[in-house]
Subunit: 441 residues, 2 copies
């Protein structure tokens, strides 16, 4: 066969890009674990009836079949690839309910598959990185406040500046009812309201009117969708608009609890925003969206919310939860496209040990072992080729340090190390070099 072609929608990175993506994923995992979320790793494969239980995505579903003609189309093993990490969580919690301790705080970082038409920033295979906390019967709202803390810390460590928008799905329909939207138009109006950022106020107002509400109602809806700020601002705006009802007060009270819990976070990092809706999702309380302030064109790269009952389709228990999901592949591919991430390093090697001649191999192995034991990633150049060639290898792979073992003996342990980016060169006992490296990098 001839040279293979890439498969559209299934992204694959260069080694340098892969290092960046893996580092991103590891930082996410470190922060999730720092809050006590425990890893789950469910199979990529679920039963089709489980996957279809939410009913929305069958056109995107990949199902598994067998290659041999005689077993093709066999429905006995009706398995498919997961398209998110939430349905597997619901299925897992229902299946292992008796063995879990609640509140159950789990994270899962893994690929999901959707047979969509691939386009700019939309993939058929991509990483999601989710956290959820699931409780029995009741889940304190303070967990809703934990989500933004986790997310802000992750992006801070990535060197990105996120801004989280908070809203509440109890509040939202209550407000639109109060300004006079009929029950049967509510879902359509809310779906439109979500588009303010995309289409702007004039077109949104027109859309509202096309859906059959009055001009006055459309103006009120527009005011709602454009209401954002800190919690006090939201409340005073609703007071100005004279919008109050027991339903509204209930939603507002939830939003207040979450916002109060977050009051120590920098104001520019988050806001309450009545304009976010999370249209088709099954959220029933707090909802979140996150934009990167330097990359607004990406839209929300991290969304989620609270749901009253995670696994009602699978188990006769009330299991409320709250969770959030980071769209890793979309962020990463965008940053790659912009050239916004350094791709100097093509391997994780910190130090290349130069091999001066074959007889020095044992010394080089010893040096490498000393370094690796301290967590310093070390390669030996396995052939005693010219210095120039060995240095070129380090340079081409972006290895930051080369080590010359010429004066090394097992007794004296003197080494020379050159930093290839600064050209600094030092000569000192290996233990001293290690100490300095671990302190200063």
């Amino acid at each position: 066969m001839s040279k293979p072609r890439p498969i559209s929608g299934f992204p694959e990175w260069t080694p340098a890009q892969t290092l960046v993506e893996q580092a991103f994923l590891r930082r996410i995992v470190a922060v999730y674990e720092s809050y006590g979320y425990t890893p789950l790793d469910t199979p990529a494969v679920e039963r089709v009836d489980v996957l279809a239980s939410k009913g929305v995505v069958d056109k995107e579903l990949y199902v598994l079949d067998r290659l041999r003609e005689e077993s093709r189309g066999n429905k006995k093993n009706d398995l498919g690839l997961r398209f998110d990490l939430t349905i597997p969580l619901a299925r897992y919690v229902a299946l292992h309910y008796a063995d879990l301790n609640f509140p159950f705080k789990r994270y899962q970082v893994g690929k999901v598959w959707r047979g969509e038409r691939p386009q700019e920033g939309r993939f058929r295979e991509f990483y999601q990185a989710d956290i959820d906390v699931i409780a029995e019967n009741e889940l304190p709202l303070h967990f809703d406040a934990e989500m933004p803390r986790v997310i802000l810390e992750i992006f801070r460590r990535q060197g990105l500046t996120p801004r989280i928008r908070l809203n509440n799905r109890k509040l939202l329909p209550a407000l639109y009812r109060k300004v006079g939207v009929d029950e049967e138009k509510l879902a359509d109006i809310l779906r439109e309201a979500d588009k303010l950022d995309k289409i702007g106020p004039e077109r949104l107002r027109e859309s509202f009117i096309e859906l059959g509400i009055t001009e006055t109602q459309a103006d009120s809806c527009l005011q709602l969708a454009a209401t954002n700020g800190d919690f006090a601002a939201i409340r005073s705006r609703l007071n100005e608009l004279a919008l109050s009802s027991p339903e509204i007060d209930a939603g507002l009270s939830e939003l207040e609890t979450v916002a109060t819990d977050l009051s120590d976070l920098p104001k520019e990092m988050w806001t309450c925003d009545l304009g976010i809706v999370r249209g088709l999702d099954y959220y029933t309380g707090t909802i979140y969206e996150t934009v990167l302030t330097d990359h607004p064109q990406l839209g929300s790269i991290c969304s989620g919310g609270r749901y009253d009952d995670l696994a009602s389709g699978f188990i006769n228990k009330t299991l409320p939860g709250v969770g959030i999901s980071i769209g890793v592949s979309r962020i990463i591919s965008h940053l790659f496209k912009l050239g916004a991430i350094g791709l100097e390093r093509h391997c994780p090697t910190d130090v290349l040990v130069i091999l001066p001649e074959d007889s020095r191999r044992a010394d080089c192995n010893q040096i490498a072992t000393l370094l690796r034991d301290k967590g310093i990633n070390t390669e030996i150049y396995h052939l005693p080729q010219s210095m120039k060639r060995q240095l070129r290898y380090a340079d081409r792979k972006g290895i930051p340090n080369v080590l010359f073992p010429h004066r090394y003996t097992p007794e004296e342990q003197m080494i020379e190390v050159k930093n290839l980016s600064t050209s600094d060169q030092v000569e000192l006992p290996i233990n001293e070099w290690i100490k300095g490296y671990l302190t200063n990098g």
Copy 2:
């Protein structure tokens, strides 16, 4: 729908088990990176013609199809799930050849899928953890010697005692030819020779004879399959048996280079063994198998070898390589079944911060932030419930430390911490506690 059932062959662990598996995978990755291998993360999905290029496994292949009737059986997107990590590597190297720096040292840890009949220790979805190094035209044998070093270090860090068996696929047919096995019987004889451990010498001798060689030849074959020890022992045994030819000498010389390079490793960790064959694989030089000396019934849990040409089917370049693959899921599931791994911890949390009352929430958040910033995984119990209940939560989840913030103020920062396994309790400033914890665990 009713309570979901597990899918046979698709393993799924409890949270405690998942923590163990993730720690295992991270140790593998740390050691792979410590030798400078760079991560790749190819899609789970490959074209079926790529997957079928080695021609052996189509009965095991999972292909992707779509759920909607009208697009079922559509051959346009003929995609399947990878069944190993070697074919994706070959395809990747061919596709990205121009962008890679050789020798290209990569690792990949990921799931693979095989539609086999599930049985004890054999899964349809399982983890492999591979390293390979690919060169252009020529690859020094010292890379063959690097593989056992990497593998031994991984299992040492896991607290397992591996024993690696080395052989050479040039040597093997040369020896069997020399004792008189016909060319057309060679493959069958070698395949049988691999079974010495399983079926014992008597039955192996019978099998040899059934394959049509003489009794004398069968005795010689049996002697070969039972030859193992250090390299000197192998060589003197072959001298005793008067087995020499240019082919044999070439294979023996390769084995000697690799064995000499490994001579600093403990003798009980590795051996040369003419009895291992790696039957159906495409190896052309060094081959490896690894057993865990405490779990011999698992057979080889880590195998691999050298191949002359990785990607000949995909690109017109000569790309020799050497690699090895750890069968993670099989090892882990075996250890779980034996109860050989502690499963006390159900989450990664190191410290649970007790919430005495709602008014102390800000202090608890501050304490948690201080700990998390130092890499200490910290949960806050989000409701001011009874102490008993908060301690029971920590106990049930296996959280090793609980922190009482009762005397904490932002100025004084005094905390009490109780270690739940030793019942030791200390009271001291948080910075001192952190320092002690990071030093002593």
